[in-house]
Amino acid sequence: MPAGRISLAACLICLLPLACCSIAELPSDPEKVRNPKFKIELLSGGSGSSGELGANAAMKTEKFKAISAYVDLEIETDPTSSDEAVRKAKDLRRDPSVLAVIGHSRSGTTRAALPYYAEAAIPVLMPAATSPYALYAFNESEARPDVKRLRRDPYVRFPNAFRMLPSDVPHQVDAIRAAAKKILGIDKFAESKQLDTIKGATRIMVICETTRRDGSDVYTKPMCDSLREDNDPWFSPLLFAYREIDLDTGDIWGVATEVFAVKPKLVILLGYPEFARNLLEELKERAPKHMRDYQFILPDACFVPDLADFGSEIYVTSPFNPSESLGCKSDEAQKLRDAVMENKQKKPTDEIFAFDAVLILAAVVKECEQSLNRQCIAETLERNHASLAGACQSYDIEAGERQNASYSVYAPCGKELAPFWVVQKGEVRCDANWKCSKNCK
């Protein structure tokens, strides 16, 4: 071969691959980033939300300061729709500096985002999502699966997700059922076995919001199905009416009309606050004098304080009980109490879960310090699942699900709501820590 050809060929051989490689730049290459830092992403309910308050307070603790040289806590507002949550999750999944995620602020957005975090094995601590659907993989576009089948094939749990609150089914449903029985005084009738006496006069209506846009159906469907299929002989015969509503297609006016027609003694509202407010406003506008005739049970995700001002008796079921935080003496708990005071809040709310999530991750990061990455975080969370220490309580999270936790039922107490009953494993007891619960039997 002539020398000219050889040199030409040699040039081409060298030129092509080398020129190609020169333009190649790996995304967020840690070796090229100046002062690299991991990120813990916290997706809270927005500015001033309890999640943000808890996270900001957690950043002031010694546990977090110990890792702050190489870990940042980034607080972002959780999107309100599932589609936006998916977009956010896709962005985070592409960011190699994300070490873990705390969030999202609702079951619907958590469920929508989790598959994308799983693709990048990003550990997720869930301080707010309680829907049983949130932990399991299934096709979003298909019908929602039966909750009873969730722990079985083909529904696989996301191995990177850890829920800090007990699942709605059975825990929240147990609390709703127990509260309903207590409010209606079913217990007394159960003792005398005179259920037929109250059946005619006492009607329970369940109204279930199933809007897909904001993931309400992910949150409510498991609870709605469980309540509808309930076979408690002292509860299910009283379920007189069941109604579903999609806020994007249905109309609240029709639901309110049905409520007037059924005349239920107790209405169980399952959905998000937008729906509850719309319905209560409609009821009040059309029959302001009758608001006192209704009693409502709402899960805490459906409740915002102004709903208590509509003239009806409102009961709220919640996995949060402030007694646990108020009696707690740890330094971290004091930091949270200071933050609550600074925020001019009268008493703690559920900011403790975001606060604890940061503390748990800070402890795990410290344990993984020698070789810190997502895999170590997930493995350490799994290994220590039985005792993940928060500020005031230890979380037992087995197979991603919170164990040994209770639900509180808040009842009207003066002008506000206060814990009244505590429901654990189907057992109901009075919460003796609050002045109104002194009347509790």
């Binding site: 071969m1 000219g4 050809r5 050889i6 040199s7 030409l8 060929a9 040699a10 081409l12 051989i13 060298c14 030129l15 092509l16 691959p17 080398l18 020129a19 190609c20 490689c21 020169s22 333009i23 190649a24 730049e25 790996l26 995304p27 967020s28 290459d29 840690p30 070796e31 980033v33 690299p36 991991f38 190489y70 896709k90 999944r93 592409r94 190699p96 500096s97 994300v98 070490l99 693709e119 990048a120 094995a121 990003i122 191995p159 020698q370 070789s371 810190l372 990455n373 997502r374 895999q375």
Partner: protein, 203 residues
């Protein structure tokens, strides 16, 4: 040298490199890709996820890398094989299994090259999906693709040597547009960079 003549020379030279040895190189590259895939899966991540991320915008610069690898495999590699046969040992003296020419070999090579370049782009996503690891004071991707490391090996050589050669060559060629001997300019520039400037930069 007229362009038509150059093209013909290059084409003949390139065709001379389409032999079974080329498929052996493809196979070695592919096995490295498969090894990477297995290592990635062993970390609890899935290749399917990496492929699904590839389909999402923004695609990024990794596409150029994939394209470069494709061009390298399709154009440069056959030339390298032809060059080896000219410089080291004539193809007739190669082991039989390396020097076979058969129908369909070109198509197979093109397909394998396509697969390898696609894997290159996927490897970038795999590294990103794996996140970072901090080992003491060292920061790196949790998953490091062997194949991608090999592909990017040329980067320092380009930065230190080839880039200055090309730049100087272009500047001088423009400054002396009527220069008869382009090869002379290229030789001068190469000599300068490899003997002095390149050393300075590396040092």
């Amino acid at each position: 040298m007229p362009i038509g003549s150059v093209a013909k020379t290059v084409s003949e030279h390139w065709k001379g490199g389409i032999v079974s040895g080329l498929l052996v190189v493809d196979a070695v590259a592919l096995s490295l890709c498969l090894l990477d895939s297995a290592r990635f899966s062993s970390k609890g991540l899935s290749l399917k996820s990496a492929l699904s991320v590839l389909q999402e915008p923004p695609v990024g610069k990794s596409v150029w890398l994939g394209l470069a690898v494709l061009v390298f495999f399709v154009l440069a590699l056959p030339m390298a094989v032809a060059l080896l046969s000219a410089l080291l040992s004539p193809r007739e003296h190669w082991p039989t299994y390396l020097g076979i020419r058969a129908r369909g070999m070109l198509l197979s090579h093109l397909l394998l090259s396509g697969g390898i370049s696609l894997f290159t782009v996927t490897a970038v996503t795999m590294q990103t999906l794996s996140g970072w690891t901090k080992d003491g004071e060292v920061w790196r991707y949790s998953f490091l693709s062997f194949w991608l490391s090999l592909v990017l090996l040329g980067q320092p050589a380009y930065v230190f040597y080839l880039s200055p050669i090309i730049r100087k060559f272009l500047v001088r060629a423009v400054a002396k547009p009527k220069a008869a001997n382009v090869r002379e300019i290229a030789n001068d520039v190469t000599k300068e960079v490899l003997t002095e400037e390149g050393m300075d930069r590396a040092g």
